[in-house]
C-alpha cells in the first residue's frame, strides 16, 4: 500500500484501540500507550513500514483510524507532534490536565508543554 506522498518526517503512527478507544502508538514491536515508546520513522521506507503495520492491525480488528503524524524529536528523544490537534491527541484535553496521557505520563506532558 502506498504511503502518503511527501509525508513530512520524522513521523509516528497513531491509532485508537478498537476495544477500549485509547490512543495507541506503533512501537518497535506491537502497540504502546506511551508516546515516548512510539517507533519513529525517519525515512519513507520506515514510514511505509509503520503504515503496513497499521493496516495489518486494522485487518486483525486490533485498532482503528491509524495514520501517520509528523513530529519533532525532543532532546530526550521523545516525539512531539508538530500539529496542535495531534498534540492534544497525545496529551489529553487541555482543560482537564487530570485526564488522558498527560495524567499518565507526567514527565512527557511537562516536557511537551515547553
Amino acid at each position: 500500500m502506498p504511503a502518503l506522498k511527501n509525508m513530512p518526517l520524522p513521523a509516528i503512527l497513531v491509532a485508537n484501540d478498537l476495544r477500549d478507544g485509547d490512543v495507541v502508538f506503533r512501537a518497535a514491536d506491537g502497540w504502546t500507550r506511551d508516546p515516548r515508546a512510539a517507533a519513529i520513522a525517519r525515512d519513507d521506507e520506515a514510514a511505509q513500514a509503520l503504515e503496513r503495520a497499521g493496516a495489518a492491525a486494522t485487518a486483525r480488528q486490533e485498532i482503528v483510524d491509524a495514520y501517520l503524524i509528523d513530529v519533532d524529536i525532543r532532546s530526550d528523544g521523545a516525539p512531539v507532534p508538530r500539529h496542535f490537534r495531534e498534540r492534544f491527541k497525545t496529551l489529553g484535553p487541555s482543560v482537564r490536565p487530570d485526564l488522558g496521557k498527560q495524567a499518565e505520563f507526567v514527565g512527557y506532558a511537562r516536557a511537551a508543554a515547553e
Binding site: 477500549d20 478507544g21 485509547d22 486483525r60 483510524d65 492534544f88 484535553p93
Partner: protein
Amino acid sequence: MYRYDEFDERVVRERVAQFRDQVARRLSGSLTEDEFRPLRLQNGLYLQLHSYMLRIAIPYGSLTARQLRQLALIADKYDRGYGHFTTRQNLQFNWPKLREVPDILSLLADVDMHCIQTSGNCIRNVTADQFAGVAADEIEDPRPIGELLRQWSSLHPEFSFLPRKFKIAVGASENDRAVLKAHDLGVRVVRRADSGELGYEIHVGGGLGRTPMIGKIVRDFLPRGQLLAYVEAIMRVYNAEGRRDNKFKARIKILVHEIGLDAFRDRVEREFAAVGVAAAQDENEELTRIAACFAPKPYARLLARSDSFEAAKALNPAFADWTESSLHPHHVEGYAAVTVSLKPIGGVPGDMTSDQMRAFADIAERYSFGELRVTHAQNLVLPHVKKDDLFALWRMLAKSDLAADNAGLITDIISCPGLDYCALATARSIPIAQAISTRFADRGRQRDIGPLQIKISGCINACGHHHVGHIGILGLEKRGQESYQITLGGDASENAAIGELLGPGLGADDVPPAIERIVDTYLELRNEGETFIDTVKRLGVGAFKTAFFVGERNEAA
C-alpha cells in the same frame, strides 16, 4: 413524565441485545469499521480524539431524579466521574470503552433510557422548549408530541439511512426557546384565531453548520392527527431527493434551497396525499395516551406572592442576584421554574460531576416532584419549585457548587467540546469560554450588560450554535494555529437570525479583549433599557466593526 410501557421497554431491551451482537460481530471481523460505523453511531457511539464518546438521549430534555442518579452511577463505574450536557439536550460521556458500552446501555434501559439515534444519518433525538408543561405562555405541553415523534422515528425501517442527520424540535409558544428555526424540522403547536382549533405550524429547512439557514414555514396549519403522516411525507421526499453526492450539501435545507420552498411544498403535499391520513384517529388516541403521562403535578394551592421569598431576597443580596437571573414564570401561582446554571465562572460549560448529579437528584426530589430538564443552553431546570422553597433550594445548590447566578448573562456561554475532545474540531472552544467567563466574572458588570448570549463552536459544524449567538465565536485553523472568527447579531429566538462576520480571525488570546471592546461599544451606544441584541439590530454590525478594528490597531500598537 413519560413512563415506558411493556412495549417501549421491550424495544430498548431488544436494542441492547442487538447492539451487543453488533459489537461482537465487529470484534470478530464480521463487520468492517465502515459497516459498523453507522450502527454504532445510531447507538450514539462516536470515536473521538482520545476515546470513544457515548451520547445518551434525553428526549425533549426531560429527566427524572432516578435517571440522573443512574447517569451518575454510569459516570463513576464506566467513565471518569462526569458528563457533559449538549446543545441538543443530551448527555455525553467522554471515556467509555466499546466492549463495555452494551453494559452501559443495559443500565440505561433499567431507567427507561437509551442512546438510540443520538447520532448517524437518521432522525435524531427530539428536542423541546425546556419550560414545556410549565411556561405561562404556552398553548399546551409540547412534550407528548415529542414523545410521539420519538417513538415513530425510532428504528424506522425506511428513514434510518438518510442523506444526512435530521433534527426535530417541538414547541408550543410564541416565544421560541427551542431554536425551532435552526432545525431540519420545527413543529410548533398553534391555535387558530377564528375557530380555536389546535394544530401545528411546520418549519422546515433550518440548520446551522457550513451553510446556516433559518427554517421556512412549509405548512402554516396542519390539523391534529395528521402530524406523523405529514412528517412521513417530508421524510420520504428528503430520503429520495436529498443530495448524496456531497456530505456538505446533504441536509434538507439544501434540498429546500435548491428546488425552492414552493416546489418542495408541492412534492411534500403530493406525497402527503398519497400517504393519506387514514391513521389520524390512531394518532390522536396515541397522543392522548402519551399526554396522560404528562398530567399536571399535584401542586399545592398557594398565593402568587410568597412572603418568605420576598423577605429572604431583601435580607440576602446574593440570593436576590441569583433569583434575578434564574427564575421563569410558572403557570401555577406560587411556583417558579428555576434555571440552574452549569456555567460557574471559569468552568467547563455543561459539565457536571457524578457527585453533583446525585446531589441534584436529591434536590429535584425534594423541591420539584423529582423532575428536571436539560436546556439547549447546557443548563438544567427545576421545573416546579414553590417560591416558599427557593431560599432553601438556593442554599442546597450552593453546597454542590450549582448556584451560579449568571443564567442568561454574558458568562452563560454555550460551548461545544471543541478540540479538547472532538475529532472533528478545528480548534478548542472550552478554554475560550473559560477565558471570557473569567474576564466578565464581576456580577455587577454582568448585570449592567444584561442579557447577552455568547455561543462558541470549535468547527464549522456549529454544535455550539455560534451562528445564532448574539456574539458567535467560530474556532478554525489558520496557518497551523487556532484562529477565531467573531460574528454579531445572531438570534436563536422566534426572531431567528444568522450573525454577521465582524472581521478577520483572531488568536485565542485576542478573543476576550475583542469581546470586551464589543461589549463596551454596546454600553456606549445603547439606548435606555436596550438589550445588546436590540442595539446590534438597530445600529447594524457596522457600528461595531469600527470599534473592533480601532481596538485591534490600538492593541497591536
